[in-house]
């Protein structure tokens, strides 16, 4: 067997591609499912926290800042292990899927809160003056004047952060969430061949390359705002 054939046999073996395609496809489904639930939860929770912070209640602010700092400073895998292996011993059993969803949603929420809050504080003070001078109350000012501008400023960092966190769904393989990486690694140990892993890697590229390119487009589309 020459080098090329040996390479194909080790990394792209047709028989194994056919054998494990269903597993990888089901992994893709899992990855999409969990990524979308995380994005939804994280964005909603993060924006909500930023809004609560805009009320400037001292206790709430301190709690939100601590939450955001801790979740941004510690690697997400640490929280995944902590929750997945720790909670059952105190009588709370969550599925691996639920643990991954919980941890990554909270991490995303922490980043989203900080980004949106930075957006809110960077809206010029005159905007508050103008809105209040026409009799708009705090909530209406925030919703109709400040937030649209703050979110617009926040779109590029929100996009890149959201993409980064959804890629972290691969951490689920460590605790057995049957997403792409998990399917691929178990297929590798069954088959003793790298083909399933290459399939998994390609699946990720197919899934995330469009997202990354979309993120690049968003960056340039809103770039004038950063100047």
């Amino acid at each position: 067997m020459d080098g090329g054939a040996a390479f194909v046999d080790a990394f792209f073996k047709p028989a194994l591609i056919a054998r494990y395609a269903p597993e990888i496809v089901s992994g893709v489904g899992q990855t999409i499912l969990i990524a979308s639930t995380i994005v939804l939860t994280g964005l909603v929770l993060g924006v909500t926290l930023a809004l609560i912070r805009s009320l400037r209640l001292p206790i709430a602010t301190v709690m939100i800042v601590i939450f955001a700092d801790v979740l941004r400073a510690v690697p997400p895998l640490v929280f995944v292990l902590l929750v997945y292996f720790g909670l059952p011993n105190v009588g709370v059993t969550l599925s691996a899927f639920a643990v991954l969803w919980l941890v990554l949603s909270l991490v995303l929420a922490a980043f989203v809160e900080e980004i949106v809050w930075a957006g809110i504080t960077s809206v010029a003070k005159g905007q508050w003056d103008a809105a209040r001078s026409t009799g708009l109350n705090f909530a209406t000012t925030l919703r109709d004047v400040i937030l649209p501008q703050a979110l617009r400023l926040s779109i590029p960092p929100l996009t890149s952060r959201t993409i980064a966190i959804t890629k972290n769904t691969a951490l689920g393989s460590v605790i057995g969430v049957p997403e792409i990486l998990n399917q691929a690694t178990s297929a590798v140990s069954f088959s003793g061949n790298a083909t399933p892993l290459m399939m998994g890697a390609i699946a990720y590229v197919v899934l995330f390359l469009p997202v990354v390119i979309f993120g690049r487009w968003v960056e340039t589309r809103f770039a004038w705002r950063r100047a």
């Binding site: 103008a130 001078s133 026409t134 009799g135 708009l136 501008q149």
Partner: protein, 247 residues
């Protein structure tokens, strides 16, 4: 002066920032239809006074009476006062994400609770008043400075205020754009609007103001008709300021 009740009155207005006294007890009565011009050196408290008049700034002491009704104090409806006392800003402060019409109608819809159609009609009328009805669909960054400021005025007018406060409405504008804004203010004066104007447009003050107030260090130093203040000021501080600004 008539014995009529003033439309807006402040008594003993005081405001401090930390230990810095911005307003050291201001008493002022403004009659309906009057155009009051406020001048004074930088930091003398002109903006602070204006901002207190519609309570964008909370005064530490003193009363604000609108048509004889006390508007100070926590329990009063702030938004009611603000709806009757409009404000126009030096930096325009237009909402960049809304069109000219959107800027003008936001409070009409949210504060006066008008339907979108009714609000649009009111907004277009206000834009017509400032000569910008054809720019209703433009965003602020598509308008010149003078046009932006006129949208700012329309935004205040759309709420049908009884008094409009102007804080240096033309000082962010290139000279050739100032005229269009002053023209709108002149029209308003003719229509009987009550106005309090902080500005350095001394020529405009001479021809349009009913009264000029000179402020320094948070207090009213001197006031009177424009002719008297500009040509026969009694206070040395007033004269020094006027000669400095070349009036």
């Amino acid at each position: 002066m008539t014995t009529d009740q003033p439309i807006l009155e402040v008594r003993g207005l005081q405001k401090q920032y930390g230990r810095h006294v911005a307003l050291a007890g201001i008493d002022l009565k403004i009659a309906a239809g009057e155009l009051v011009f406020v001048i004074g050196p930088s930091g003398s408290g002109k903006s602070t006074l204006l901002r207190c008049l519609n309570r964008l700034e909370e005064p530490d002491h003193g009363q604000i009476l609108f048509e004889g009704q006390d508007m100070s104090g926590k329990k009063n409806d702030l938004n009611l006062l603000r709806q009757r006392v409009g404000m126009v800003f030096q930096a325009f402060n237009l909402y960049p994400h809304l069109t000219a019409l959107g800027n003008v109608t936001l409070a009409v819809r949210k504060v006066l609770r008008k339907s979108r159609e009714a609000a649009d009609a009111i907004g277009l009328a206000a834009l017509r008043q400032v000569g910008l009805v054809e720019k209703a669909g433009s965003y602020p960054n598509e308008l010149s400075g003078g046009q932006q400021q006129r949208v700012g005025i329309a935004r205040a007018l759309a709420l049908e205020p009884k008094v409009v406060l102007f804080d240096e409405p033309t000082s962010a504008l290139d000279p050739e754009l100032v005229r269009s804004v002053l023209e709108v203010m002149r029209d308003l004066k003719r229509a009987g609007m009550t106005m309090v104007v902080v500005s350095h447009e001394m020529k405009f003050a001479r021809e349009a103001a009913d009264r000029v107030i000179f402020m320094a260090e948070g207090a009213i130093v001197e006031q009177g008709p424009p002719e008297e203040i500009f040509s026969h000021a009694r206070e040395p501080r007033t004269r020094a300021f006027l000669s400095q600004v070349g009036a």
